[in-house]
Each structure stands twice: as C-alpha cells, then as structure tokens.
Symmetry: C2
DNA sequence: TACTTATCCTATCTGCTTAGTAGGAATTGT
DNA sequence: ACAATTCCTACTAAGCAGATAGGATAAGTA
C-alpha cells in the first residue's frame, strides 16, 4: 500500500467538501488554496473523484463541487483504493506476479494476507463524518501556546 | 508499504538459508534456481543482505552463503524494512512530505500511524523459525490431489 | 602453476510511475 | 459580450523497479 500525493489530495478534498456538506459549492481554486495543491493537478484528481461517484459538480460561473454522498457514507479506504489502487502490499496478491507459481506453497502468502486485513481494519473503519467531528473538536480546543 | 521483487527475493533467500541452517553453504546459483530469481539480480540482493548483517559468505571454489543469525532471530519486518525501506504508507510519516505543514492539525495523521502499527503488528511478529516450521509441516502433509 | 568455481563490484539500461505543466474547449450566470 | 468556472487531452521531467553486462577477486584442486 502506498498513499501518493494524489491520494492525499483526494482525501483532503473529500474532507473539505465534507466540511461544506449541505452548505455551499467549493471551487477548485479555493480547494487548491486550502489543501495546498497545484490547481491543475487538483483538477485531474477532482475529475477522477467525480467519475468514481464521490463528488458532483456544477459548471459555469457559479460552479463548484460538492459531495455526492453523506460524509458518513464515505470511508478513507474507499477513496484510497479508488485513487491509488489496491492496498495489498505485494503484487502477488493482486494477481500480477510471475513468481507466485504455486499459491498454496508460498509460506509468505498468509503474511501478506494478514497484512492486507490489518490495513483494511484501519482505513475501512474511518469515515468522513468521524474526521469532520475530529476537525471540529480540534478547532474548539483552547490554545495553550503563547 | 510496498514489497518489491527485491524484497520478495530477499525473504525467499533468508527462508532458503534458514532451511539449510547449520548444514551446508548455499550458492547463488542453487538459490536462484530454487527461488526463481535472475542470478545477476539476486547477487545484488545477497550483497545487500550481507551488508545488513543478515547473511555471511565464503568466497572461492567451495563458497556460498549462510545465515548470520538463528532463523528465530530474524523477522519478516526486519528484512522488508532493510530492503524495501520504511513501512509507513505515506511520505508524510517518513518526514519527506512538503504538505505536512502542521502535523498536529492533519486529522489523517492518526489514520496513517494506526495503519503503520497494524502492519508492524503482522510482519514484526513472524520470524523465520515460524516459517521453517510451516514449510516442514506442509511437506509432511498428505497429497489429496491425483 | 593453471583452471575452475565461486563471491564481489560497478556501471548501464528499459519501461513504468509519479507529480506536475500546458493549452484550450465547453458551460453558465451577469 | 464577458467572466468565472468545470472539463478534456496531451505532454514532460525525474525517479524507481527490475533487471543486464562485464569483469575483478578469492580459494580450492589437478
Ligand atoms: S510468491 Fe505469491 S505469495 Fe509468495
Ligand atoms: S499531511 Fe502530514 S499527516 Fe496529513
């Protein structure tokens, strides 16, 4: 599993849209500023997220993006898999491995299967409602630094 | 985390040497045949494993390789980290990430930290004595196929 | 000493992926 | 008409994965 910049931008995008859920549309420009991403690169990420059914858009003068589903219905795992591909740590488990001739004989296979489950156990159990709550509770926190 | 062919060859190398532990030296040629790796590529892997203190070698006519430690004292995690680098799923946690300006504010950070721990929980708890036992028990199994 | 069989060392290469850039077409409100 | 926006396609620079190539060095043996 590798989370690329693209994946990171996608997650931050969904989170930003989740924070604006049921309020206003978010433009690529504003998003790019807030999540600190190159706008032209972000455009491509947004295009993919739309194809993936995560977000919806409105074109034209007062256009922008919004979530296609409730934040609670989108998990980190879903987004990462869609943008960065399978979470399996080795090509073998994705069925693209020449060396895995006899699946039943390789004693490492179970290790990678367990690893995959362990990763899934984390990222498939965090949704964007959880994250929105976390952001909001962070904002309420008092500031102790001077 | 990504396990490359190099990492896979390294693991299979250690396992093969573990199976020959305290018996005979293993040559690159024999190893390459058994684990199905290009010999010249495997040479480089062996060189790295030696530098990493996993294996020892003897040069010359009757040379070859052997484990530098007991199989039980080598874990899958150790080998993978040495050959394929840090297991963290995102550059951010490796300290090579421009976008992680305020570490305390990014709500995704905990997700990646938890993911790292989950992976570690698997690969750092499998050693090569476990794997040797598994190979041997597999060999003892009756064959049900015709 | 010559020969063989090994490890050891360094350079090079090809294809793929990542992260980004570039330029403009299409859409919509004012 | 104009401005602001999404949408679409192509291109590029850098790095990495997975080798390949060619030999130098070491050690046992006839
Ligand atoms: S080669 Fe496929 S699991 Fe090991
Ligand atoms: S940007 Fe560093 S953890 Fe999110």
């Amino acid at each position: 599993m590798k989370v690329t910049y693209k994946g990171d931008y996608a997650l931050k995008t969904i989170l930003d849209l989740a924070l604006h859920y049921d309020k206003e549309l978010v433009t690529t420009h504003d998003l790019a500023v807030r999540i600190d991403a190159p706008i032209k690169f972000l455009e491509q990420v947004l295009s993919e997220l739309k194809k993936g059914g995560f977000i919806e858009s409105r074109r034209g003068n007062v256009g922008g993006y919004m979530l296609a589903r409730k934040p609670a219905k989108i998990t980190v795992g879903e987004v990462i898999r869609f943008i960065d591909g399978p979470i399996e740590p080795i090509a073998c488990l994705k069925g693209e491995y020449a060396n895995c001739s006899d699946i039943n004989k390789c004693v490492f296979r179970k290790v990678w299967e367990d690893t995959t489950k362990a990763i899934s156990g984390v990222i498939d159990n965090v949704n964007f409602d959880d994250l929105v709550s976390k952001v909001k509770s962070q904002q309420e926190e008092p500031i102790y630094s001077i």
